[in-house]
């Protein structure tokens, strides 16, 4: 049966190829999803057709997330977005028991405590939304335009460190992209390096 093993390898690599090509691409329709938010409500991406949607992968235990929350950088972006009618969805893909995994109530308390202003916090302990977007880090940012097209994916800014002192001087890619979209311009830098902690996905899926 020794020949079964190479066969298995062949099939496995074929399967992985499919998975790899299924990654979202800028300029293509963003993967739709249905997820439960911190208030138990079902949220679908397609519900927001016509509006710009920001997806923010987060994990409150991650130093890179803390960098942007302790400096109020993330909250400021969220508030600006809300004022412009942009839908901000924070997504937690930490598996149950892993760092960053919270209940709905805990998520709401966290938002309150931090002064965060997302339209909704999506709980994704199975990692379905995260894997659909190939989200890897916290933070990892995605922007979907009103047509449902993915127009930005990557980091929040260009300083891939955990140092709060770097926030001020950094070029914030998300702010720049949102400004460009508001002005009817294409996003100048649509793909950047996401940086931060790895997302604590559920194992063996």
């Amino acid at each position: 049966m020794s020949f079964l093993k190479p066969l298995a390898v062949l099939f496995a690599s074929a399967a992985m190829t499919v998975a790899a090509t299924a990654a979202p691409e800028v300029g293509k329709p963003a993967p739709d999803f249905s997820a439960t938010d911190s208030n138990g409500k079902t949220v679908k991406l397609s519900d927001y057709r016509g509006k710009t949607v920001v997806l923010e992968w987060t994990n409150d235990g991650c130093p890179y997330v803390q960098k942007h929350y302790s400096t109020k950088n993330m909250q400021a972006l969220q508030k600006d977005a809300a004022a412009k009618g942009i839908v901000w969805l924070s997504v937690i893909s930490s598996a149950s028991g892993e760092q960053g995994a919270v209940s709905g109530a805990e998520a709401n308390t966290l938002s309150e405590k931090r002064g965060a202003a997302p339209a909704a916090v999506l709980l994704d302990p199975q990692g379905k939304v995260g894997r659909a977007y190939d989200a890897r880090t916290t933070p990892h940012m995605f922007i979907v335009n009103g047509d449902g097209t993915l127009v930005y994916m990557g980091g929040i800014d260009d300083k891939p460190t955990a140092m709060t002192s770097d926030v001020k001087a950094a070029k914030n890619y998300v702010r720049a992209a949102l400004d460009e979209l508001a002005a009817g311009k294409p996003v100048a830098t649509p793909v950047t390096r996401p940086y931060g902690c790895s997302i604590k996905y559920k194992h063996s899926s």
Partner: protein, 729 residues
């Protein structure tokens, strides 16, 4: 003396400060990494460079990150505070480990990590000691990540030129230096298939570097162009290694794709710095990647464990895959025309003896085939040790071998025709054994079938042999036996399955007729072999063959006549036959060596004779070139030439497109052709290459050609893909 005292006091003082510092650090929250600074020398010499190491002693199961951290994380940074005039070089990063955190793949380090930095001292150094200090920032992760910061410092005395000596840490620093990737003594290029998101990295280097590599992994220096989590598939063809990668998120295709190539050999990894230049688009670059599944060391989605990053069973699965391919290739050989005459005999044998015992016969046949392939494996292994240029089908390059086979087929034909019937004795060595009913006959039919199959290099087999030649002897043997198993499979199957056997016709009077008819394919084969010999040796060889046929024919007739004579008389025929056989072989071999030099030109039927210099010259001039590597004994080659390459349509197209047609004839040994075959991962002919010109990489055509295929593949206006980077809308 006073100087010595002052230094000692200062040293004591510094020690106290360090101790105090250490004590105060105890109070801080426990860190996951202990960081300190080591020097390879006991002193700093003005105007010289000293190597220091920032040592990270990382808590078990935790890791810090490489220069490019991969999908997440952040590399260590060192901010130096050095005395006036001192300059620190970049961090000399050791080869990273793969740190899979499914579905992500990071690049980092575990255990003890030494980050080497060269620090150049100015010519004038004030004071008699210097303090090197640095702030080290790093992210350390297990399941969770913690950014840490450590301050390190090291005070060293200043010595005059020639002063100082290797310190206690010199050995550790030397070990660390050995882990730093070195520039690859070779070249690297990559091609893009944008539609599929595939990248193919092609690395050419000396066999001493690539040979025996069981796993390869490319670590890109920068984020974006290459997917970190996609598995990387390795293929190794002698002096060339290909690695199939996936594009990263940016889909960028830089002019130079920089990174580190890690090669695993015998459980040890070595890193090479490469900057792959961008080649033409499309996946048709060079030989197809095949056979070696370079281990899913990248993990990809399936990577299960985090504690064995680089070592995996890639070697095992790649060998398994090679054997599987060899098996398929061997089975396919049964469809090849050159096996047909032997198959005819075999079919005859089954028809004769359909009452049973087929299972034993099937396995006897299998045994014959396996013995032959094992012998061939041994021969390949032995020959590989020597530096002779050779390849699959190389036996056919020996005129003596060709003639021996021709005589064998001739005698077998005589036997089928009823001129002679062998009862035993020396002449049985060939055909009679194969014809003999029972297990011995099947054993030798297997031997014969295996020998006759050599010139039919099916695509699978060529690839398997090419792979095997680059492998350790055990793997080579396993692949060869895989070929043999596949080759014998149809007959074994036939012998095992009564259902299949029932398809065979019932014995009867028709058998004698069939036997006589079957003599003619054997004569035809003998005739063809003489033609091969004529190309190898010229008219002298043909004369030797003709004389041998006469002598052997006479011996066969004599053997029949004296079958019931006393032993002494009886022995005359075989002795005569063997003598004729030996003499003719030596004649053929001599004729062959005389003729060797002229052979290649003679065999170039149309088109120019291939030489490496000619090909290189044409390619350098940017001319489109079609290369046909062929041999007289290669039936596939001849069929392709008749069907496709010699057709008017192809000739017209070549003329119109200005394609220069080079023919390389491998009927006799030709090291330049052997080299080119090996470059494309082949161990035998045919090989068809099209160089589109204009510096583009050659395309490899399939081994079975049609007119349409040749016309399509040789379109000189190759499509150049559009914009090289699509950053999206």
């Amino acid at each position: 003396m006073t100087n010595w005292v002052s230094k000692s006091v200062r040293g004591l003082f510094l020690a106290c400060i360090l101790l105090a510092g250490g004590a105060s650090a105890e109070a801080a929250p426990r860190k996951h990494v202990e960081v300190d600074l080591l020097a390879g020398n006991t002193a700093v010499v003005p105007g010289e460079t000293i190597t220091v190491a920032v040592r990270e002693r990382i808590e078990p199961e935790w890791h810090t990150y490489w220069l490019n951290p991969g999908d997440s994380g952040e590399p260590t940074t060192i901010a130096w505070s050095l005395p006036q005039g001192f300059e620190a070089g970049p961090i000399q990063w050791p080869l990273p480990d793969i740190i899979p955190t499914p579905p992500l793949v990071d690049y980092g380090h575990r255990g003890e990590l030494l980050l080497l930095v060269d620090i150049a001292a100015p010519k004038d150094v004030a004071g008699d000691s210097v303090t090197l200090a640095a702030k080290v920032n790093y992210l350390v992760c297990k399941d969770v990540c913690v950014p840490e910061e450590s301050d390190v410092r090291l005070t060293l005395p200043v010595a005059a030129a020639g002063g100082g000596a290797p310190s206690d840490h010199a050995a550790a620093i030397a070990t660390a230096r050995a882990k730093v990737p070195v520039p690859l003594p070779g070249t690297a290029a990559y091609s893009v298939d944008a539609a599929k998101g595939d990248l193919r990295l092609t690395v050419s280097a000396d066999a001493s570097i690539l040979d025996g590599a069981t796993d390869a992994r490319f670590f890109p220096l920068d984020w974006g162009a290459v997917s970190n989590s996609a598995p990387q598939k390795m293929a190794l063809d002698g002096g060339r290694l290909t690695l199939d990668l996936k594009q990263g998120e940016t889909k960028e295709t830089p002019d130079k794709l920089e990174g580190v190539l890690a090669l695993t050999k015998g459980g040890e990894r070595k890193g090479y710095v490469i900057a792959a230049t961008r080649g033409p688009d499309g996946a048709a670059l060079g030989a197809p990647a095949k056979l070696v599944e370079g281990g899913a060391s990248g993990g990809g989605i399936a990577a299960p464990r985090a504690d064995t990053p680089a070592v995996n069973d890639g070697g095992v699965s790649s060998v398994g895959l090679a054997i599987l391919f060899a098996f398929i290739g061997g089975a396919m050989l049964n469809l090849m025309p050159c096996v047909f005459p032997v198959l005819a005999i075999k079919a005859l044998g089954f028809a004769k003896k359909s009452e049973g015992g087929h299972v034993q016969q099937g396995f006897a046949y299998l045994g014959g085939v396996l013995v032959c392939f094992a012998a061939l494996a041994a021969l390949l292994a032995v020959l590989r040790e020597g530096s002779a240029a050779f390849g699959w089908g190389f036996q056919f390059q020996s005129p003596a071998f060709v003639l021996a086979l021709a005589i064998l087929f001739f005698v077998m034909g005589l036997s089928l025709s009823g001129v002679v019937s062998f009862g035993g004795g020396l002449m049985n060595a060939g055909d009679a054994l194969a014809r003999k009913p029972g297990n011995a006959g099947y054993f030798f039919t297997g031997v014969l079938a295996a020998v006759a199959a050599t010139p039919c290099t099916a695509p699978f087999m060529g690839a398997a042999i090419g792979y095997a030649l680059t492998q350790p002897t055990a793997v080579l043997a396993a692949v060869m036996l895989g070929l043999g198993l596949g080759f014998a499979a149809p007959v074994v199957l036939l012998s095992l399955s009564p259902g299949l056997q029932r398809v065979l016709p019932k014995p009867g009077a028709w058998m004698e007729t069939l036997k006589q008819v079957l003599a003619f394919p054997l004569y035809a084969t003998a005739a063809w072999l003489v033609w091969v010999l004529s190309i190898q040796t010229g008219s002298d060889g043909v004369m030797a063959a003709a004389l041998a046929f006469v002598a052997v024919g006479f011996a066969a007739w004599l053997a029949g006549k004296t079958a019931y004579a006393p032993l002494r008389t009886k022995l005359v025929a075989p002795v005569l036959g063997v003598a004729a056989f030996a003499v003719s072989l030596s004649l053929a071999e001599t004729a062959g060596s005389v003729n060797m030099a002229a052979t290649s030109e003679k065999a170039a039927l149309s088109g120019e004779t291939f030489t490496k210099a000619r090909l290189d010259g044409l390619v350098a001039d940017g001319k489109p070139v079609f290369v046909n590597l062929t041999a007289a004994w290669c039936i596939t080659c001849k069929v392709n030439e008749r069907v496709a390459l010699k057709s008017d349509a192809v000739a017209d197209a070549f003329a119109k497109r200005g394609i220069i047609y080079l023919v390389g004839d491998w009927t006799s040994r030709n090291p330049e052709i052997t080299d080119l075959l090996q470059k494309f991962g082949r161990a035998g002919v045919p090989l068809y290459l099209f160089y589109p010109g204009g510096g583009q990489e050659p395309r490899v055509l399939p081994q079975i050609l049609t007119v349409g295929l040749v016309l399509d593949e040789t379109k000189t206006k190759a499509k150049i893909a559009g914009p090289s980077s699509n950053k999206g809308a």
